[in-house]
Symmetry: C2
């Protein structure tokens, strides 16, 4: 465990270096930084795959449940890293360091064909990697496991297939309703950031153990006592800054909320992408976009910005939650977001299974999009080329976004049952009863339990899509009577 | 060299982590960061003392002069690190991580006796370390070697002894002159920082490969394409910000100016503290506080701040260069600074030699101060407790400050001889002829030559205190006719 603790500390340093790269690093330092990061990763890989670690694992006996979880997580990582041949790991690292810029160029040109050969190579290597990891099991499952330990694609497909018809229907009904106007007015960047900071603290983000900076794509990073978030500012759209901040605060509060006894150990971090996303989503959507909190936020925004072109809190609530036609996943609302994910999940699963070829991917994307969204993709940058994930080999990551939404739905139903007067607090700008509930039920455990077990313990039953769908129907049915 | 390149990259990461600690780190992350830094240092120590490195060094043959310098630097580091027993290294690290806060507490209480037992322990361990490093040679020389490779205390003492009477005399004569008033007016922090940024660029700092942040104690960090500086702002004293920025820019330009072929190698860094300080001092003092540059800066400050309470450029020059009575090294002017250093040099040399006991240190300090400065130290925080260095085991560091001044004096005389019309450029706010000269003669070589050799090659003769003393006499004799 002393060796592991040092490994964890070095992992934190590598994470801080990535943060620096996105926020502080001078433009001219790109190449030097790649070399620094490569050296960190090579050193960490060597530590984590040291045969000595394998020997220790064979002899180790856990003194208690937390110790057992530590050993399980270390053994899982050791098996994961040692199963993949070193040559393949190198080949993948080398390819994905080049492929991202090729994807960016192809996206700028709306030219999928230009990127297809590179993507074919990425898919080929990821299938090889998955096969090495799967050890005879399902190859795609083995890739998902990197982001959502223990999740199985067949289970995910079952959940998603149940949701899809309801979401398509809800989408159509909601879009038939009147289009809500966006806000209007002047939203000074420094006032947006000050308000975002206030909201971050209201949602429980401890700035004594964190900080907020600007970045092109907002993210959260770090764990324990140094958990930093970033945001961005769009002068015409204050919700971009405010809600991305609340989203990242959800991630950050998860990391800050973990029992300090687990700091600098494998258990001392969020357990999976899905559970992480459940926290960011419930903070952003179920709490932050609730009618009660919108009442508060409407008042605060009028204080800060004067007339924002919205007559009252109810109209503000509708504006914050409005559905609109669009192509881009990251700009999608609570309903349509999941349709975006399911599309990617099915396509990437078929790619890895070998049932879909990269040369047919764009057509498959466009067909599926038409079926779910009702209109045609107009260009590749609005379609198959919009996300960076596949270009850097992130296969198996997408489903964790919707799984996070499903988990958030379950947690929200449970916490509402436990906190009947939550809305009164939210209307005063005080989400703390909910965030304290989440810290107690989910966050403090870190990696102590398997991901699905965390949600099951918090809610008292196995997670299903039922609560999320009920919430969405109530919210968007009520907002937009078709 | 591939192994060494990775070591260098990891060293850069550790340096970046220190920068983060002083500029960005949340207050609550102190303990976690100590653990992260400890893990980085342990990992780096293990890499640098790996017996494999020793074997490689035995077999290695350099292909050229640069390769020979690389091997020399790696071998020097390997010998330095492997000579000190691991137990002693650990003991020193543990002690100095605690002793700094004890020093800070004692300084706050003006109570040297409270700190003396800890300092005794530091001195004892540093003497042990020095003896292990010296391998039969002079113990203090072995400690100096960490900061100024190849320097010998006897030579330094010779230089300093030659300078001391002249400095004491100059100090007295200058203080008899009229006291110059400081500037007055309002100096808005953001305007100070903008002007500091402008000055940084005028002095050649490449902001595309660097950045400027705030810190309590300004410093420069990094090398190659990521060299960052910090500054601080005092609302009543704009020179604090402006001249500390020019000082740090001198350090940063040295690192940025090294031949890119040496990046990420041992040669790709400033060769010693003394040569580093020669760059920061010549930028700050010989160039930045020159009559010609003051002419430009006076105009710029009037543009930015309006009436600054100084009637003309000549009075501004006198203000920027005024001598005043004081106890604190870091606030001292070009003349008195060296007296502060010589005092510390002699005392620490005697401590390490065993000729002075810690219990007698405060009295020795106060006696020497009275002799050189002419008045009594009023309290320990203005005397023996003012600097952090000894508390963290930095014995042998102080003399490099004055050595840097001596080197700056030599370089300045040479560059003035080569650039007869430099003042015309400086008066236009353009130090580039001088900074280009310094890059060509000094900076680009990095660690290719031994420190003293760098100066000798740049100036065409062995460095002595003569040029510095002549410069000081001319400048401060002329400023203050006694």
């Amino acid at each position: 465990m002393a060796h592991e603790r040092e490994t964890q500390a070095l992992d934190r340093v590598a994470g801080r270096l990535s943060w620096d790269q996105e926020t502080m690093m001078p433009r001219g330092a790109v190449e030097q930084r790649a070399e620094e990061m490569g050296a960190m990763q090579a050193m960490l890989h060597a530590r984590k795959t040291d045969p000595q670690v394998g020997e220790w694992l064979e002899d180790a006996r856990a003194p208690d449940a937390a110790g057992a979880a530590q050993l399980r997580l270390i053994a899982h990582r050791y098996a994961r890293l040692t199963r993949v041949p070193a040559d393949l790991t190198r080949e993948l690292a080398s390819l994905t360091s080049r492929s991202q810029s090729q994807w960016a160029a192809a996206r700028a040109d709306d030219d999928f064909a230009a990127f297809a050969p590179t993507l074919e190579e990425v898919v080929r290597l990821k299938r090889e990697e998955g096969a090495a990891l799967a050890d005879g099991g399902d190859v795609y499952d083995a890739l998902v496991d990197d982001y959502e330990p223990g999740a199985r694609a067949a289970d995910l497909a079952g959940i998603f297939d149940d949701m899809r018809p309801g979401l398509v229907e809800l989408r159509l009904a909601a879009l038939e309703g009147a289009e809500r106007a966006p806000v209007s007015g002047r939203f000074a960047p420094e006032v947006q950031v000050a308000l975002a900071r206030e909201l971050a603290e209201r949602f429980g983000y401890d700035l004594n153990r964190g900080r907020i900076d600007m970045a092109v794509h907002p993210f959260s990073s770090g764990s324990g006592d140094d958990v930093r978030i970033t945001t961005r500012v769009s002068e015409n759209d204050p919700f971009n800054c405010l809600y991305s901040t609340i989203h990242e605060v959800g991630h950050a509060c998860y990391e800050q909320g973990i029992d300090p006894a687990y700091h600098m150990t494998p258990v001392g971090q969020g357990v999976s992408m899905g559970v992480h996303e459940s926290q960011s989503r419930i903070y952003e959507n179920q709490l932050g976009r609730s009618r009660a909190f919108c009442e508060f936020l409407y008042g605060r925004m009028c204080d800060e910005f004067g007339d924002i072109g919205v007559p009252d809190a109810e109209a503000f609530y509708a504006t914050v939650n409005r559905l609109h036609r669009g192509y881009i996943r990251t700009e999608a609302d609570e309903v349509q977001y999941n349709l975006h994910i399911m599309l990617r999940f099915e396509l990437e699963r078929a790619l890895i299974a070998g049932d879909l070829q990269v040369r047919d991917l764009e057509a498959a994307w466009n067909d599926r999009f038409k079926a779910d969204f009702g209109y045609e993709v107009d260009r590749a940058s609005n379609g198959v080329l919009q996300d960076v994930h596949w270009s850097v080999g992130l296969f198996g990551y997408f489903p964790t976004y919707s799984l996070g939404n499903v988990y958030a739905g379950c947690l929200h139903a449970s916490l509402r049952a436990d906190l009947p007067d939550l809305d009164e607090h939210l209307a005063q700008g005080d989400p703390s009863p909910a965030t304290i509930w989440l810290r107690d039920k989910v966050q403090r455990h870190g990696g102590l339990y398997e991901p699905r077990e965390v949600i099951e313990r918090a809610c008292g039953e196995r997670p299903t899509a039922g609560p999320l769908m009920a919430y969405l129907k109530e919210k968007f049915g009520g907002l937009y009577p078709g």
